[in-house]
């Protein structure tokens, strides 16, 4: 029993270290890739080519004064970053990094993930409400509206994969992508479910509050949206949680659609990370290329286009399965 607890504890620490290391890489890449798009150098001073810049940034956030607005609801103000961050962190519990490297392989892994992801908008609303600021309030409401309207199409876009693989466990889903398709294509779900993959990508952008769907924190409209009033480490936690979500959803996309750790020659975890970072690059690329959509247009896109499209995808998948 004790061994078991120790093992789980170790797994938890392992996830945390893995996550934080990757977050540093993602933030660094974000800065560098953005700089590349914008004909500038990006961070160059801290460490070789600015590699230590994310570390310096986080250190700065830790040391900053933590200001709480006078009329804020102190307890909720304190809780909001945690409500936002914890689910994002707990998501990694069911993520397999290779066939044997799984913290906890749940049979209902996908359900677990989507259940936790629905908790995050609560954090946004709480943050927006407790700050007692108008910008935060509007940002919070926007964020909640957006995340709820994109959770549904995202879930439905994965449903096609679940139907094909016949399992809700992530390990089984990756295993189902073994082998070749028509003799030359790897049998990844991106080829079997191209439409679902597209829907998933759009939903990822919306779920992570990134351009073109970054209205909850739309800088030019709402200053910083729901975390306008946050500073110091609490701001840092929000920041971390958003990057965690970006990283997680890319990792998840790589597992579900891009064949996970499968690939020749290289060790499985390397393959998985390569695929993850390809998706992250896509997300960053979109962020620095497109303008922002308006709130009503975002909601209309979510409910009127993505949702029916996801249903059609499921329908087609069912027909495909029945015939093939």
């Amino acid at each position: 029993m004790l061994d078991w607890i120790a093992l789980k504890f170790l797994a938890g620490v392992g996830i945390l270290v893995f996550l934080l290391l990757n977050l540093l890489v993602v933030t660094y890449l974000e800065m560098k890739i953005a700089a590349d798009f914008q004909v500038r150098l990006g961070p160059m001073r801290v460490g070789w080519h600015g590699t230590l810049q994310p570390l310096a940034d986080f250190l700065k956030l830790f040391l900053k004064e933590d200001v709480v607005p006078g009329k804020a609801d102190r307890i909720l103000f304190w809780l909001a970053p945690l409500i936002f961050f914890l689910p994002a962190f707990l998501l990694f519990l069911v993520v397999p990094l290779s066939e044997n490297l799984v913290p906890q392989d749940l049979d209902i892994g996908l359900f677990y993930i989507f259940a936790l992801a629905t908790v995050m908008p609560v954090g946004i609303i709480v943050a927006g409400w407790s700050s007692n600021s108008k910008y935060s309030l509007i940002g919070g409401l926007r964020g909640a509206a957006q995340q709820i309207s994109y959770e549904v199409p995202m879930l439905l876009s994965i449903l096609g994969v679940v139907m094909l693989s016949g399992s809700l466990s992530l390990v089984d889903i990756v295993k189902a992508q073994d082998g070749l398709l028509l003799g030359f294509l790897p049998s990844w779900f991106v080829f079997l479910q191209p439409f679902g993959f597209l829907l998933y990508l759009i939903a990822v952008l919306a779920e992570t509050n990134r351009v073109p769907f970054d209205i909850p924190e739309a800088e030019s409209e709402l200053v910083a949206g729901y975390f306008t009033e946050y500073s110091g480490i609490k701001f840092g936690i929000f920041f971390l949680a958003e990057y965690t979500m970006t990283f997680f959803l890319s990792l998840f996309g790589a597992l579900v659609f891009l064949g996970g750790w499968q690939g020749p020659f290289l060790p499985p975890i390397v393959w998985l990370l390569i695929k993850t970072y390809v998706l992250i690059y896509f997300v960053i690329w979109v962020r620095w290329s497109l303008p922002r959509i308006r709130i009503d247009q975002i909601l209309a896109l979510g409910w009127k286009i993505l949702l029916p499209a996801a249903f059609i995808n499921i329908f087609l998948t069912a027909i495909f399965m029945e015939i093939g």
């Binding site: 914008q38 351009v211 073109p212 209205i215 030019s220 497109l290 303008p291 308006r294 709130i295 009503d296």
Partner: protein
């Protein structure tokens, strides 16, 4: 049992004076119902420096640095209008070469100002990258202007009856070089932003105004031309050497944010054309008419001169009582009048649209408050 009454309230939102999208210290006071703007008001005065009053205590040449600080993004235009007004009072002629230099600089500055608009507008729409691209080209214009004026933003370069110094060697070649490349950059910018579907959805039909209403609101500049009205002082009330040049006045159709954006992009191309022609036609000769007296004392009287600045119709009204200092200086600032249209344009749009309208009106707060 009675039904509980649903109480609805609007929120009063102070967008400014410190806000990322207000382009300076100005307060756009919005009354919002959820996301919709139901009422708006512009609160200004945060940057008031009493330039007009200060001018009454300065000698005429000392006012050039003052008017620079009105529209700090196109300071050459303010100087131009002021110089034209005082020249009317003094009744001096400007040598041909000086006039050409003036036009070249002013049009370069128009390009720089519109480039800044392009970048800031993209930022308002939520896209950061175009801003940095525009900045790259604007930097080249600023370098050119610095070569001539010695400074980037506040040139103090115009003089009554001419300009301060002649053009430095190599300037004309460099300018031609830049102007030749400009259309390619503009095509690139259009591909980045103007042809983007999201951007079009965000701007087309936003802040619509009819030509007649635009005139009644006092709108001038690109926003007015966006409604389809061909009104440009460079053509309709020509000053300096503009009649010599061949250029078009771009107009829009609907009078929305997108049209005013398109008009500005097209104006940059036309400015490039004007600069090219001015450089081809620039004569040799003096750059300044020497004034008879050391101390400038215009005869009693008043004069009004207006130029087409990047933001619209910029007028300067000078009253002289025969002394070395003006009795009164009044500036008709285009940003000031354009901003007045904001409450009407923003009504019944969303908060995000209000931001785009502010961006499309392109106010410079130094000019709004003076």
């Amino acid at each position: 049992m009675t039904k509980p009454k649903l109480r609805k309230e609007t929120i009063l939102l102070n967008m400014g004076p410190q806000h990322p999208s207000t382009h300076g210290v100005i307060d756009f006071f919005l009354e919002v119902d959820g996301e919709e703007v139901v009422g708006a008001e512009v609160k200004m005065g945060y940057l008031h420096r009493a330039v007009e009053r200060l001018a009454e205590f300065r000698t005429y040449p000392q006012i050039f640095p003052l008017v620079d600080r009105l529209d700090y993004l196109s300071a050459h235009h303010s100087e131009f209008a002021y110089a034209l007004a005082v020249e009317k009072l003094l009744q001096v002629d400007v040598p041909e070469r000086a006039d050409h230099i003036r036009v070249i600089l002013v049009e370069l500055k128009r390009i720089a100002s519109h480039l800044l608009f392009y970048g800031a507008f993209a930022m308002d729409a939520g896209s950061v990258t175009p801003f940095l691209y525009a900045w790259r080209e604007r930097e080249k214009v600023m370098d050119l202007l610095e070569d001539v004026c010695g400074i980037r933003l506040h040139p103090n370069y115009f003089r009554f009856g001419g300009v301060r110094e002649d053009l430095p060697p190599g300037f004309l070649e460099q300018t031609i070089n830049f102007v030749d490349k400009l259309p390619f950059f503009l095509d690139e910018y259009e591909a980045m932003l103007g042809e983007n579907e999201i951007f079009q959805v965000r701007t087309i039909g936003i802040g619509k105004v009819s030509p007649k209403r635009a005139i009644n609101l006092g709108l001038t500049g690109p926003y007015l031309r966006g409604t389809g009205l061909k009104w440009d002082l460079r053509r309709d009330e020509p000053y300096s050497v503009y009649p010599k040049f061949d250029f078009e006045i771009p107009t829009g159709k609907q009078g929305d944010c997108f049209d005013s954006y398109k008009v500005r992009i097209e104006e940059m191309r036309q400015s490039g054309r004007i600069i090219k022609q001015a450089i081809e036609k620039i004569p040799d000769g003096p750059i300044r008419t020497s004034l008879p007296k050391k101390v400038i004392k215009p005869p009693k009287g008043e004069a009004y001169a207006r130029v087409e600045s990047p933001r619209g119709e910029l007028g300067v009204y000078v009253v002289s009582d025969g002394s070395a200092r003006p009795y009164r200086l009044k500036v008709r600032a285009p940003s000031f009048t354009n901003v007045q249209a904001f409450p009407e344009l923003a009504k019944n749009h969303l908060i995000a649209d209000a931001v785009m309208i502010i961006g499309a009106l392109d106010p410079v707060i130094g000019e709004v408050d003076r």
